[in-house]
């Protein structure tokens, strides 16, 4: 229901913003017609769905009920949120050029993979080796074979910063 309420608000804001656009010149419809009516449609449709859900009194649960069987014991949603946090840290590491792309990627892959594992010594060693290999392999493939300059990813982020 939360998402539907947000979508209703988005629809109203979009329709309002579109309504304030200048009127059409030299054409019947103009730039504002589509966004305006789409905003109205989004609000109305979200409202209809919200009313239906309210009347039915049911909603898809947002929390996962999964219990990890062969890994660490914590809620599924907690695991997802921690992964999101690790991904955010990885992006910041790229953005602020903390370490090279290959190393930060290897560290990120290692952290996420090992987080969901049994953390036995053998697995830690294998995952560390695999993550390093993948990190450098990705850098090699993109820079040497596909000619995508990954270093520009960091340069671009500096420009944004």
């Amino acid at each position: 229901m939360f998402l539907l309420i947000v979508l209703m608000i988005v629809g109203v804001v979009v329709a309002g913003d579109a309504a304030m656009m200048p009127p059409a010149i030299l054409e019947p419809l103009g730039s504002r017609a589509f966004p305006f009516w789409l905003g109205v449609a989004l609000t109305v449709l979200s409202g209809i769905r919200l009313v239906r859900l309210f009347r039915a009194g049911r909603e898809a649960p947002i929390t996962g009920q999964t219990v990890y069987v062969d890994g660490p014991r914590f809620g599924a949603l907690t695991g997802l949120l921690i992964t999101v946090g690790m991904t955010a840290l990885y992006l910041l590491a790229i953005q602020f050029d903390v370490v090279t792309y290959a190393l930060s990627t290897a560290a990120y892959l290692f952290a996420v993979m090992i987080f969901f594992s049994n953390r036995s010594i053998v697995e830690i060693v294998l995952v560390a080796a695999g993550a390093l290999a993948i990190g450098f392999l990705i850098q090699f493939i993109f820079t040497r074979i596909l000619f995508i300059d990954i270093s520009s990813l960091q340069e671009a982020s500096h420009a944004v910063a």
Binding site: A60, D70, A76, M113, A156
Partner: protein, 504 residues
């Protein structure tokens, strides 16, 4: 003979390499539950930026063919559809495998996939060129109307809820409206953020809504083990009499799959459901369906593969995607500066005929790879998701960045990933979002140019015969689910009344 030339081009070493690679990667991706064909094709799209356009299309089409077939493996051995299209295969594939005949179940599925691909390819090759010649004559009102049909069809079949599909579609359409309006030069819905002036890029939106949202869903189930049956290549080779016994089922399911695939917006999953239920009603062994009946496996697998080629027909003739994967192929055409739609055959025949030729050769390659490698590919399903999902995120980051070399797009992708995840949790399908994101600019541009031609009159929408037919189809599509719900309700009321009467 442009088609013959295209076939010759398929056997150039690099092109053939991409084709085999595409089919193989597609099969593996389709076989691993949680890694769908759409996901892997979206991830591959940025890798094709630097490839020759025909090779890029060959790679993506081959992945499409491979991933649709690969879903069969996990559906049969794990009771988990690797792709949504393999949903109906589970019903008979898994029970047959459980009875100790996994090779036979897979063999029937592979044979059916191959035949479905062959029959539908015939329609793809024969219908597409003449259809494109007719479609060249479409005016802006006709193109607007057919875009509307596609949008309505997508919404109508979205998880059985028209409103949910329409919300998702409206949201996708709004996202497509952000940025500079090419017709007037006005900036729309950016709320002062200059980074949004260019609008949202295709890849950040695709990768976010389709791939990252699914990755997030998969993280919720990351360490849940699934039962998996062992298999071997034994019994996978079908005898002639087995194939002959299925001849009518194969033909009927191929035609159903092709036809449903041709309808814009309806993909392989619906084709498999329709074909399965039809086969059940026609079969002499209808009571055996769901218990390991080969008729069910054949019907489902023939139709879902036939729908792949069927869906390519509106894509290359009208520029209207037949499924979510076709949206990505449409994006690939745009990325490679090819004009999707009727002009593709005129302006870039090598690409149009290349897609057609690749679909057939990929079908043969799929058959060969599946027959000989399925037992080995089945072992890849065992790789824990914790080793698959993190590299996918890394590829998503590079993919979203590589389109415009903007770090902003990476954050945009994560934003859309969160949106896609929340939409799935709220039972809003993400397919209509993506298709509306692609189709809305086409619909808007054509409606506005049509209205300029007609001095602001909407009448040509109904006075132009083809446009009127398309509009009627759109209205019928919108009303059909409402009719179905009412009919189901009245049937339920009738049944409950009868129960009360019996009790009394």
């Amino acid at each position: 003979m442009p088609l013959l030339d295209a076939f010759v081009a398929m056997f150039q070493p690099m092109t053939f390499f991409y084709l085999v690679m595409g089919v193989f990667v597609g099969i593996v991706a389709g076989a691993i539950p949680g890694v769908s064909g759409a996901m892997v094709i979206a991830l591959t799209l940025p890798l094709t930026f630097f490839m020759e356009s025909t090779n890029a299309l060959v790679l993506l089409v081959s992945m499409y063919v491979g991933s649709t077939s690969g879903g069969l493996i996990s559906a049969t051995l794990m009771r988990m559809p690797g792709t949504p299209a393999a949903l109906m295969t589970i019903l008979d594939g898994f029970p047959m495998a459980k009875k100790g005949q996994p090779g036979r179940a897979l063999g029937f599925g592979i044979m059916a996939s191959f035949v479905g691909g062959l029959v539908s390819w015939f329609f793809l090759a024969t219908l597409s060129p003449p259809l494109s010649e007719i479609a060249v004559r479409f005016g802006p009102f006709e193109i607007f109307s057919i875009s509307l049909v596609a949008l309505m069809l997508i919404s109508a079949i979205s998880q059985g809820s028209l409103v949910a599909g329409l919300i998702s579609g409206a949201l996708g359409a709004l996202v497509a409206s952000v940025g500079v309006d090419d017709a007037s030069g006005l900036v729309r819905l950016t709320f002062g953020f200059e980074d949004l002036d260019a609008g949202f890029g295709l890849l950040p939106v695709l990768l976010g809504v389709l791939v990252l949202s699914q990755v997030a869903q998969d993280f919720l189930m990351i360490n849940v083990p699934a039962e998996k049956l062992a298999t071997s290549a034994r019994d996978m080779f079908m005898r002639g009499q087995d194939v002959f016994a299925q001849r009518w089922n194969l033909l009927r399911s191929s035609l159903i799959g092709t036809w449903i695939g041709i309808l814009p917006g309806i993909g392989s999953t619906t084709a498999a459901i329709a074909s399965y239920t039809t086969a059940q009603s026609f079969s002499r062994r209808s009571e055996e369906f769901g218990t390991g009946c080969e008729d069910g496996i054949v019907a489902a697998e023939t139709a879902n593969n036939a729908a792949v080629n069927g869906a390519l027909v509106p894509l290359i003739t009208l520029g209207i995607p037949g499924s979510v994967i076709d949206v990505i192929l449409l994006g690939a055409l745009i990325v490679h500066n090819l004009t999707p739609g009727p002009l593709l055959f005129q302006n870039s025949p090598e690409a149009a005929y290349g897609i057609i030729a690749a679909a057939l050769v990929a079908n043969f390659v799929m058959f060969g790879l599946m027959m000989f490698l399925t037992p080995y590919i089945a072992r890849l399903i065992d790789i824990p998701k914790r080793f698959i999902l993190p590299p996918i995120i890394v590829f998503c980051i590079i993919g979203s960045f590589s389109e415009a070399n903007r770090f902003f797009d990476v954050w945009v992708m994560f934003g859309f990933g969160a949106l896609g995840f929340l939409m799935q949790r709220a039972n809003l399908p993400n397919g209509p979002f993506i298709i509306a994101f692609i189709l809305t600019p086409i619909a808007e541009v054509n409606l506005r140019s049509g209205l300029m031609i007609s001095d602001g009159s909407f009448w040509p929408l109904v006075t132009h015969p083809l446009s009127a037919v398309f509009l009627l189809l759109a209205v019928a599509t919108a009303l059909w689910p409402i009719y179905q719900v009412r009919r189901a309700r009245s049937a339920m009321n009738l049944a409950s009344n009868q129960e009360v009467a019996t009790d009394e």
